[in-house]
């Protein structure tokens, strides 16, 4: 009888230990999805790269609003399944206090994201090639049979970057104001990520590497495409790598 009463206590202390061992708390969000849209599934061993983005929206947009924006961006002939990124980060700009900082789950990690650009293809390593050859990347719609999609490879055997990467978006705009970016920062007031945001990105990346040891690269959106995204965050990737090293993680 006494031992039965102890079980919940033991379980609680284990849960607390598990939370303390995490570098950062990632909050889950229940996102609406479009069941008419197709998407692809992947084993987590396929992942080797984290790609940073900014949303080019105000910082006050919520993860649910970003999801809704992405659902809206689809068309009846090309619907979008849900938010394109695997994680969303809310953080205030320097000198402001809203929104409160937080990391939120986005598209589940075992679903291929839609963030690096559908025309960006990259070579696979031996393990990724094996997973592809075994037919472990399957595409389809909810409630239907998932199948191999040859369009995930280009004519030289490179794979879509979306399949081997996961996207982390920082909600906000870290690029300069201009014709191509009317939501950007005022040219005379350069906007860089705060040290708190850099630490959040380092902790999140390190935590992901701890759980998925094949993740070893930190990249940014315009590594794959000619775009202003992720603005000045790109310049701080070496600093994010250095901070992650402080938490025991190595990134290239």
């Amino acid at each position: 009888m006494r031992s039965q009463k102890l079980w919940p206590l033991l379980f609680m202390s284990f849960s607390l230990w598990a939370q303390e061992s995490d570098l950062i708390q990632i909050q889950s969000v229940s996102y609406p999805r479009n069941s008419k849209a197709s998407f692809c599934k992947r084993p987590l061993e396929m992942l080797d790269t984290i790609v940073f983005h900014h949303s080019e929206t105000p910082t006050t947009q919520t993860p649910l609003q970003i999801n809704q924006l992405h659902l809206n961006r689809g068309t009846p002939s090309d619907p979008w399944y849900m938010v394109a990124y695997s994680f969303q980060v809310q953080a205030p700009y320097l000198g402001t206090t809203v929104p409160a900082s937080g990391v939120f789950e986005g598209r589940p990690l075992d679903l291929v994201g839609a963030h690096a650009g559908s025309q960006a293809f990259i070579p696979m390593d031996v393990e990724q090639k094996r997973l592809w050859d075994e037919g472990q990347i399957l595409c389809g719609k909810e409630g239907e049979e998932f199948k191999l999609d040859p369009k995930q490879l280009n004519n030289v055997g490179n794979i879509k970057a979306n399949v081997t990467t996961l996207g982390i978006v920082v909600i906000g705009n870290y690029a300069r104001f201009g014709r191509d970016n009317p939501n950007g920062y005022r040219p005379s007031k350069v906007r860089n990520p705060t040290s708190q945001l850099l630490d959040i990105l380092a902790r999140t990346s390190c935590q992901l590497q701890r759980k998925n040891p094949r993740i070893k690269y930190l990249r940014w959106h315009n590594y794959y495409n000619s775009t202003t995204c992720p603005g000045n965050i790109k310049n701080f990737v070496p600093q994010i790598r250095a901070l992650a090293k402080g938490y025991g993680c190595e990134f290239k």
Binding site: T75, A84, Y85, P182, T227, T228
Partner: protein, 135 residues
């Protein structure tokens, strides 16, 4: 029945044509603001919500005035593409960067850009925000 289908198609094409024309007009005025500092167009190009998110109309004008102004080149009609979103009366548009033809010939880089969120405010198309290109 056939006549009805033709009438519906004709109506649809007419609406699409009118939207295309209005979109072209919107981006022409947008370029006049961003390239020529013609800030008198601001209220007809951006929604009130967009301007408020930038600290208000005056702050936005100050931002525009910090951009380089080019009066010498003639203002070319902007090249853009747009599509209707899943939501009624919301459109997404992509503006082709200036000089991108030259870039394209020199590099095989893939270009993706800012998506402009266009909504109807008091019956007129206006820019309500942007979102980074993804997919």
């Amino acid at each position: 029945m056939r006549i009805q289908i033709i009438l519906v198609l004709a109506l649809f094409m007419n609406v699409a044509h009118a939207t295309e024309k209005e979109m072209r007009h919107l981006f022409h005025k947008y370029d006049a603001i961003m390239l020529r500092h013609r800030v008198e167009h601001i209220d007809s190009v951006f929604t009130k919500a967009f301007l408020d998110a930038h600290g208000g109309r005056e702050e936005f004008i100050a931002m525009v005035k910090e951009l380089p102004r080019d009066e010498l080149k003639s203002l070319q009609p902007p090249e853009f593409s747009w599509k209707k979103s899943m939501k009624e009366e919301v459109f997404f548009a992509t503006l082709k960067p200036l000089g991108s033809e030259n870039l394209k010939s020199k590099s095989s880089e893939i270009h993706s850009g800012t998506q402009f969120i266009i909504v109807k405010e008091k019956g007129k198309l206006k820019i309500d925000g942007t979102v980074s290109d993804a997919h």
